[in-house]
Amino acid sequence: MKKKGIYSDSHMKVDHRKVPSVNIIGAGLVGLSAALALSRMGIPCRLISPMPSERAQSVMAEGGINAALDTMGENDTPYDHYEDTMRGGVYLADPNAVWALCSRAPETVGLLLSLGAALRTENDRPVLRNFGGQKKKRTAYAKSSTGKILMTALTDAVRRYEAEGLVKRYSHHRLHSLCIRNGECLGAEVADLHSRVITELKGSVILASGGMNSLFPGLTTGSAVNTGDVTALAFVSGAELADLEFIQYHPTTFPIAGKRCLISEAARGEGGRLFALRNGKPWYFMQEKHPVLGDLSPRDVVSREIELVRNDKGCGGKVFLDMTGLEDYVWKNRLSDLREECIRYLRRDPATYPVEVSPGIHYFMGGINVDEHHRTNIAGLYAAGECACQYHGANRLGGNSMLGAVFGGQVAAESAASELSEKNTGEKEAGSLPPDEVMQPVGVRKEAAKLLRDSLGIFRSGKKLEAAADKIPELIGAEDSTLQRNRLRLGQAVLLSALNRRESRGAHTRTDYPETDDEHYRKTTVAVFDRNEVKISFRDIPEKRGGAG
């Protein structure tokens, strides 16, 4: 992309206090992608994160990134990718946004390759693997450390602009508050976790802060840093949230100290099979129940089936992932890191022994409500990646999260660049953080955690959801921490979204409403915080434009 910004010739002397600068909250894939896009346009930005990029949750992403590169001779096209993504999300995603994502995916992966991302190649072209919910090989990868490899390439690329001054890093800084006046976001207050100084940074804000792990302490595969506190803060500051009830349970996880550990979908993409012991014999239930996609059915389908089998008394309550049939070549070249992880945590070699697995919370499809340009309902405030609700509908396909993060970051940057306010500049000190607020609890308190865990499982009932939603205001009333109150409001919004969607779709399965009801619920669930109350409504999904798909 050609530099076109007004500062492109003078960025060696960029003074972020005096020129319009975009504030990016989060330095993972989204944050880096946005920073790179802005830099290439010659627009200054501040990259704000509690930890350096190397510690972001994005480095944990494993399986791969989707793009219809068609290097495997299967006649794959962006339209196939679009159809799979829409179908996987049970037609709840914005079709125009999804078409933009899929049609530009080859270009997005091309950008990453041009930065030297060490995705696996053969004959100097990216190799693609099978992934869930897709019939064609479409997932570019680097063993099962794809996120780390992409992050390294992007971090190195952004470093150049850091050195030039266009990107100003605020490492060890956390969002303290958003400066919103008359429906417009004018900046952000950020707290330095080392000096405890709070600084107000003027300029528009891109939120890139990941999922809402604090609502389910110890039960997710994600990072302890991605608490969802930024989402909660945006919510109580007036930002709409959407589709919060869609929480992805990844089918193959196992517990480790303090969290769930993921076994990448790549294990099944390379030939791993799920089974349970029925009458003492292995029952490959996915292949029997879903003959077309089998073990590579979308994650919501696989997780539901695993849960049903685990609850089947004839199957001993256990489900295993059998990777013992994989060839040495596959282990060595494609899954060596996954194997090492299993050996480290389970003390068993998955090449020799099947691994017991169960579904674990892995991704939040819902989040801050954005349009296809990643704009929120608040002018000057944008969101992308897992903290936003975009691209994935009711269920995300594996390989689409990193794509959505990198592409979403670019789109958010383009929107912020096109709406840059020349007058809204400056930085000033705005107080200090109390010492006891440097370390924050990683999750909601025990009682709230139990309510959320018990009511927001793979199978949900109106009764439990209602009881939990009714209890939350009481917990909010007794809570003296603003942080925990915000988390509870976020939790309440998730519960009420799930309660009000009286159907089953994608990752939201209601035992009392088992059918999908397109007539009433092929709509976006919108949660707003208004006069101290969480309100839920349903909004039409944008119509597909002629050129899209």
Binding site: Q57, M60, T121
Partner: protein
């Protein structure tokens, strides 16, 4: 199993610090130091074994599964990741936790490792032009991309001091990624920086061998990068 965790407590860099010992009962064989620290901080009141009520322990953690390097600290004197250190592996049940000492202290177990990233900037570790991994360079670039920038290798290095002219293996490893494929003028700059900030300062003590939590093949990458940055140029000049 009961453990005694002797933890370095220091409110900030301007005050003096001391060790305090906390009793901790692990519920499982697999409990890690990271899990223990999280649980200590979740206590309503955190008291040491002498009954002194103390503040929460300040430390860093993110992935909790050895993928991000945030929780690097000294455990019984050895730099490692708290999420990778199982309590049950310390047979006498006593563990001493300290911050990495090569970096300025922020508080308790948190040190300021910003110098690692500043050094990468000084190295000019980026490419001005497109980089394309091909089949030949792919495995080196993959290996070099895995560095966590945790600082464990720097902690044990006799030649590294924060703010001085030797940048250590946390700069060598990412350099290897670029040196494997860079061909343009910025490659010449990087080669010079590599010689100045890495090759010239490394005393070949090999103290960093086997310390990397990610298990990166540091020696293999260094021999390749030395060749790419120095020897190939040297022989080219002689020809």
């Amino acid at each position: 199993m009961k453990y005694l965790l002797k933890i370095w407590r220091q409110r900030d860099k301007d005050t003096s610090g001391c060790f305090r010992t906390y009793a901790y009962e692990a519920c499982s064989e697999t409990t890690t130091v990271a899990a223990a620290l999280s649980e200590l901080n979740e206590r309503e009141v955190l008291s040491d074994i002498d009954g002194n009520v103390t503040d929460k322990v300040i430390w860093e953690c993110s992935c909790l599964q050895k993928k991000c390097g945030a929780c690097a600290m000294l455990i019984n004197g050895k730099p490692c990741l708290a999420c990778d250190a199982r309590l049950s592996d310390y047979k006498n049940g006593r563990l001493t936790l300290e911050p990495l000492r090569k970096f300025p202290l922020v508080a308790d177990l948190m040190s300021d490792r910003q110098i690692i990233f500043e050094n990468l900037k000084k190295m000019q570790l980026w490419s001005e032009s497109e980089l394309l991994a091909d089949d030949r360079s792919n495995s080196v670039m993959y290996e070099a991309s895995r560095c966590l920038q945790c600082g464990c290798c720097l902690e044990v290095c006799p030649n590294f001091s924060a703010g001085e002219g030797f940048f250590g293996m946390s700069a060598m490893v990412p350099s290897s990624r670029l040196l494997a494929v860079m061909k343009d003028a910025s490659a010449d700059i990087l080669r010079k920086q590599y010689a100045k900030f890495i090759f010239d300062g490394c005393g070949r003590s090999l103290a960093c061998r086997n310390i990397c939590p990610a298990g990166i093949d540091i020696e293999g990458l260094m021999s390749r990068s030395n060749a790419a940055a120095l020897w190939k140029c040297f022989f080219k000049l002689r020809r």
